[in-house]
């Protein structure tokens, strides 16, 4: 009974979405306020019905209703309750439902938090979001109904959730990632609404900024969680493989980062408008592309569930419609907006423009590496794969260039920066980071050009960021007062940039100085990795709730001193008889010790993987900084206390946004 209700709720939500697409938009185009007034109630209705459908599906999982095909395929009565809960999005249909729940949730949030927006604008934004909802709800209802029943032959038990997905990482990674993906839909909707209106002004940029930043923060967190999960669960200690699925999430992140920065210029200075709109469109298109790549089954990966050609086609059509439609609109409307604004060749505008060039180049590069094999395969021109070296070789220089530029750009001013002043400003940070990175290289043993460049860039970003903070917080009333006076969005930027530095340092050190050894060991053997001794004590057996495991016991010591006892496992899942390797890790801020058990070689000999991973935690720590920075920036006062009347009047001036971030403080000019 319940599953049918769930399906009914989905269909009702679809109908409401159709109304949301048509009614408020028509109202805004004809100027009828009575029709525009429908936008918010329709949004609420759509969200409530989708939430209802999601609740019904969750209920089916929790009560082991194996008459529902999706539950039977992705759950099992022996599964612990929290994995039954996360199994809701453990397969294609459910994860799509989660996608839609997020989308309608974001739409709801826009309806709630945009009370101060003009009615025409908000009804158009909600209509565009409704359009996207229609596309995805049609997709789920037509091709991927999660409520399909297996009647009358109800299986006695479910086929179980893929053991790889029975993990804390899966509980949090997809929702977080989807929040990011889908969040860019809001920036997209704002851009489209602005194009329809022909009103690409600073007010539009200010409305878009917090949404973009929040989406970006979620996406940063989601990508980091995915990388962390891959590290301990399926990667045998790898953290990024340049796998097409990973790239699919990196693409919108890169262009979203560019969008965040170009929105800042558009808001503050009223320039780059057409470019910003285009970026907003591209970023959302890349989110859709990511969904297509991951969900259509064209890729080989953990994320590719049972593939069905209809689904791929549907998503591709959806993607094509979105891209073509919005680019058409862009082509017709973008030239309408034209601005004259002066800025010198060393201005902050130019630095942010270069930042955009680098980020977009990186996006293109990753896109080429990801899509080229797929396109060749599609046209039957051969099956190729593009290996990690391609991405490492091309992505690293761009990342380093962007980092170096970030450091200089931190000090730059809007309109014009004096070259001599800028040169003097960067002198000290340059010297200090040179010193620190050289010292670090020596400490890690061995000069490698890439390692040095990466570390130097990371130090450089951190040093310039701190230097700038020090400059700006100078105050006659004392340092504390000066620090307090800085806005939250400024601190958000500081945290975000420090996050980039931390991630960069982590990535550089772990890929250059990490050690990985595969060895054959019998109980009693000792192996040496770096300064650490690993003693293989023995293999034991234990029972979990739905698996049996053989676990190894390893004693790790560092120069004779005991460090940790690790128990990596080889799990045998009862349902489906699949085997899973569960690594054990002694985690630390400066290094991880990683042990995983491979296969049995002979009676008592085992293949063992031992790893020493310096600074690997920094990769994800940096992402945490970025995400927190994003949320902090959004909590800034200026996004909350502002009357639409005043924002409209100041919008044409562009720069008149008051004492907010990036305005050099009084002490800086000395």
């Amino acid at each position: 009974m319940y599953p049918e209700l769930g399906q009914l709720a989905l269909i009702l939500a679809l109908l409401l979405a159709v109304l949301l697409t048509v009614v408020p938009l028509a109202g805004s185009l004809t100027g009828r306020e009575s029709l525009q007034a429908f936008a918010r109630p329709l949004t609420t209705g759509m969200f409530v019905f989708v939430a209802l459908a999601f609740a019904v599906l969750t209920h089916a999982f929790m009560t082991d209703d194996f008459s529902v095909a999706y539950v039977a395929n992705n759950s099992n009565s022996m599964l612990p309750w929290y994995y039954k809960f996360s199994a809701v999005w453990g397969g294609h249909e459910g994860s799509l439902l989660l996608w839609i729940l997020m989308l309608t949730g974001w739409t709801m949030a826009v309806a709630i938090f945009s009370r101060r927006l003009p009615s025409v604008m908000i009804s158009q934004v909600l209509s565009v979001l409704g359009m996207i909802s229609v596309g995805f709800m049609l997709f789920i209802v037509v091709t991927s109904n999660p409520f399909d029943r297996l009647l009358p032959n109800v299986p006695a038990d479910g086929a179980d959730l893929n053991p790889l997905l029975q993990d804390f990482g899966l509980i949090v990674h997809p929702p977080m990632l989807y929040m990011g993906y889908v969040g860019f839909a809001v920036a997209f909707a704002f851009a489209i609404a602005a194009l329809i209106n022909g009103r690409l002004d600073a007010a539009w940029a200010r409305w878009s900024r917090p949404w973009t930043t929040v989406a970006w923060a979620f996406l940063s967190g989601g990508i980091a969680l995915g990388s962390w999960w891959a590290y301990y669960e399926l990667g045998w200690g790898g953290w990024w493989f340049w796998d097409p699925v990973e790239n699919a999430s990196l693409l919108p992140w890169l262009s979203g980062t560019a969008l965040m920065h170009s929105l800042a210029v558009t808001e503050k200075r009223g320039v780059f408008k057409s470019w910003t709109v285009l970026l907003a469109i591209i970023t959302f298109a890349l989110s859709l592309l990511g969904t297509f790549l991951v969900r259509s089954g064209v890729l080989t990966s953990v994320h590719a569930f049972a593939s069905d050609p209809d689904r791929g086609t549907f998503l591709l059509v959806l993607l094509a419609l979105t891209v073509l439609g919005s680019l058409m609109l862009y082509a017709f409307r973008a030239p309408v907006v034209h601005v004259r604004s002066r800025y010198g060749s060393l201005s902050r505008e130019i630095f942010l423009l270069l930042n955009n060039v680098l980020l977009v180049s990186a996006t293109l590069l990753v896109a080429v590496g990801t899509l080229y094999p797929l396109i060749l395969d599609f046209f039957q021109l051969g099956k190729i794969s593009i290996g990690e070296p391609f991405f490492n070789l091309t992505f690293s220089p761009l990342a380093i260039a962007a980092g170096l530029l970030l450091g200089v750009g931190t000090f730059s001013r809007w309109k014009k920066t004096d070259a001599g002043w800028l040169g003097r400003k960067i002198l000290w940070p340059l010297a200090v980071s040179m010193l620190i990175s050289t010292a670090a290289i020596v400490a890690y043993g061995g000069f490698k050009p890439w390692a040095f460049l990466g570390l130097f860039t990371a130090c450089w970003i951190a040093m310039t960021t701190f230097w700038d903070l020090w400059d700006k917080s100078g105050s006659r009333k004392g340092r504390v007062h000066g620090l307090k006076r800085q806005s939250r969005s400024y601190y958000g930027m500081v945290l975000g940039h420090l996050g980039v530095a931390i991630t960069m340092a982590g990535a550089t050190v772990v890929s250059n100085y990490g050690i990985e050894r595969d060895v054959r060991m019998v109980p009693g053997d000792t192996a040496q990795v770096e300064d650490y001794q690993f003693r293989f004590v023995g293999i034991g057996e234990r029972r979990g709730q739905n698996f049996t495991a053989q676990y190894g016991t390893f004693e790790v010591s560092h120069e004779g001193k005991f460090v940790a006892e690790l128990h990596p496992e080889k799990r045998q899942y009862a349902v489906g008889m699949s085997v899973m390797t569960e690594a054990d890790i002694d985690a630390g801020l400066f290094r991880d010790i990683f042990v995983a058990v491979g296969e049995r070689i002979s009676d008592d000999a085992w293949a063992i993987r031992l790893q020493y991973k310096p600074l690997i935690r920094w990769l994800w720590l940096g992402a945490v900084f970025m995400a927190v920075g994003g949320f902090l920036a959004v909590s800034d006062r200026r996004y909350r206390i502002r009357d639409p009347k005043t924002s409209r009047s100041t919008s044409s001036a562009g720069a008149a946004t008051g004492k907010t971030d990036a305005q050099p403080a009084t002490g800086a000019a000395s």
């Binding site: 790889l164 180049s361 590496g369 794969s385 054959r520």
Partner: protein
């Protein structure tokens, strides 16, 4: 030159410079890092190059896995049921590696026809087949049925 035009020109030049650097890097890196896929029949027929890193895939032949008891060396045969290729690998195999399962190996083909793999990939769940492998199997079985049909007509 008019200052606005001059500025536009600089922007365009910057964009072009960035773009050309990216394109140059990309093509250079692409040329070195494309790995072509070959199925066992192609390798047995000598179509695969011996001087480049390639991917080979197929099913692990039943009863072909030989493990060296003193090291991590493993030998097995990869087959598409019309030809098979011996593979050598040193290291830890993925959890779902088993006889009769589809795998993809990365590595180099020796002049003696042995494939030395530096990476072996199996898929993540037991019902899934790497698309290259299923394609190779389809091709091989089609070739066999055609061959059978030909012999039958004679």
């Amino acid at each position: 030159m008019h200052p606005i035009r001059k500025k536009r020109l600089t922007i365009v030049l910057f964009l072009l410079a960035g773009l050309s650097v990216a394109v140059a890097l990309t093509t250079y890196a692409l040329r070195q890092n494309i790995n072509l896929f070959y199925d066992p029949s192609q390798i047995a027929a000598g179509e695969a190059p011996t001087d480049a890193r390639i991917r080979a895939g197929g099913m692990v032949e039943e009863g072909s896995v030989i493990r060296d008891p003193d090291s991590l060396k493993v030998e097995f045969k990869v087959t598409d049921y019309s030809a098979s290729v011996p593979v050598e690998y040193m290291g830890i195999l993925p959890d779902l590696f088993a006889e009769g399962q589809g795998i993809v190996a990365m590595g180099r083909l020796g002049t003696d026809g042995r494939f030395v793999a530096d990476q072996v990939l199996a898929k993540h769940d037991e019902n899934y087949m790497p698309p290259e492998v299923s394609g190779a199997l389809e091709k091989a079985s089609k070739a066999q049925t055609e061959a059978a049909a030909e012999t039958a007509t004679y």
